[in-house]
């Protein structure tokens, strides 16, 4: 009986970690994506300072996301996204138009990443 109770406890803990990591990934990736949208909008409206701040915010949120990377099952493109976000910061500082393209790329990669962590049928299979 003790063994069954211990197993029940372990399963509950695993489920909490699993569900918690899904929620965490969803929330932190949302923050990065929102910051990237803000950077794009600010740059389009020629608010370069705003774009720079938004790019910094995106980088902070991405670092937060990366700090819990042990809960992410697919890591192949983590470095790629990190490099893109770092590049966005540099482009915002240089007021380069390429920022818009890079923001779009980073946002799509993050969204794809976030969606791959969701326990839907396609991801499970």
């Amino acid at each position: 009986m003790k063994r069954v109770l211990l197993c029940a406890f372990i399963i509950v803990m695993l489920l909490i970690i699993g569900v918690g990591s899904c929620i965490y990934i969803e929330n932190t990736s949302e923050k990065v994506v929102n910051a990237l949208y803000l950077a794009e909008d600010s740059f389009s409206s020629e608010d370069f300072r705003g774009a720079r701040l938004a790019a910094e915010k995106a980088d902070e949120s991405w670092q937060e996301f990366m700090s819990k990377h042990v809960f992410i099952t697919d890591k192949e493109h983590l470095l790629e996204i990190t490099a893109t976000i770092v590049k966005i910061q540099a482009l915002a500082a240089a007021e380069d138009e390429e920022l818009l393209t890079e923001c779009d790329v980073a946002r799509r990669l993050i969204e794809l990443y976030r969606d791959k962590q969701q326990p839907d049928l396609l991801n499970i299979l």
């Binding site: 063994r3 211990l6 197993c7 029940a8 695993l14 099952t73 890591k75």
Partner: protein
């Protein structure tokens, strides 16, 4: 490199914990479900050692989940004989009174070579000397050599409060006879842990409160 060494130590401790959680049964003959668990645990444990970029938690979580499922499955099988039979199968008689049940052998996908080899392992060289050969759920073949009196060994007819109809058929008795014995012993079917009986009507009855009764039907 140090990471791999630390991971090895942690995984070693985790696998020992996992085996302890599964119980001593795991260390002996393996049932199909236990074999699956053992193979999966051993494979998953090596994944995070082979690939240092993979977080160790990705190995720990599935190991714990599989072991917990195994413990739950064992608990369910302990309570429910139908699920137990479904998961582990049931022992099959392949030789009775020196005669091979060829259909059974075919359904088990055992060849005659497998049987004769197992016989030789038990120091039996003449098939006519075999009273019973039973393929256990672990795949092991057990033999009972013919005794001088020619009597069949006792067969289990009640397990965990449930009548084993195959057992009844084997010794050629009916449900009525069993009910009579239960009534004579002033007990109920649900209170019986085990009842075995031989073809001569000699039975042993073990109640769930460890009370053992023996007797012979008139």
């Amino acid at each position: 490199m140090l990471i791999i060494i630390i991971r090895s130590v942690l995984l070693y401790l985790l696998v020992i914990f996992a085996l302890r959680l599964m119980g001593k049964k795991q260390l002996g003959e393996l049932q199909p479900s236990e074999l699956v668990t053992t193979i999966l645990v051993s494979n998953i444990a090596t994944l995070s050692l082979e690939d240092p970029s993979m977080p160790m938690i990705m190995g720990i979580m599935p190991i714990l989940m599989i072991v917990c499922l195994d413990v739950f499955m064992s608990g369910i099988m302990l309570k429910n004989t139908k699920i137990r039979t479904l998961v582990t199968g049931s022992p099959k008689i392949i030789i009775k009174d020196g005669e091979i049940d060829q259909l059974q052998l075919k359904s088990l996908r055992y060849t005659i070579d497998d049987v004769t080899e197992a016989m030789r392992e038990h120091d039996i060289f003449d098939i006519s000397q075999v009273q019973y050969a039973i393929v256990e759920t672990t795949g092991k073949i057990n033999f009972l050599e013919k005794q001088g009196d020619g009597k069949n060994p006792p067969t289990v007819i009640i397990k965990d409060g449930e009548i084993d109809s195959n057992g009844l058929k084997e010794i050629g008795i009916g449900r009525g006879w069993v009910d009579k014995i239960i009534a004579e012993n002033k007990t109920e079917l649900s209170r019986i842990f085990l009842m075995s009986c031989d073809s001569g009507g000699k039975y042993t009855l073990v109640l769930k409160n460890y009370d053992i009764k023996e007797g012979k039907a008139k």
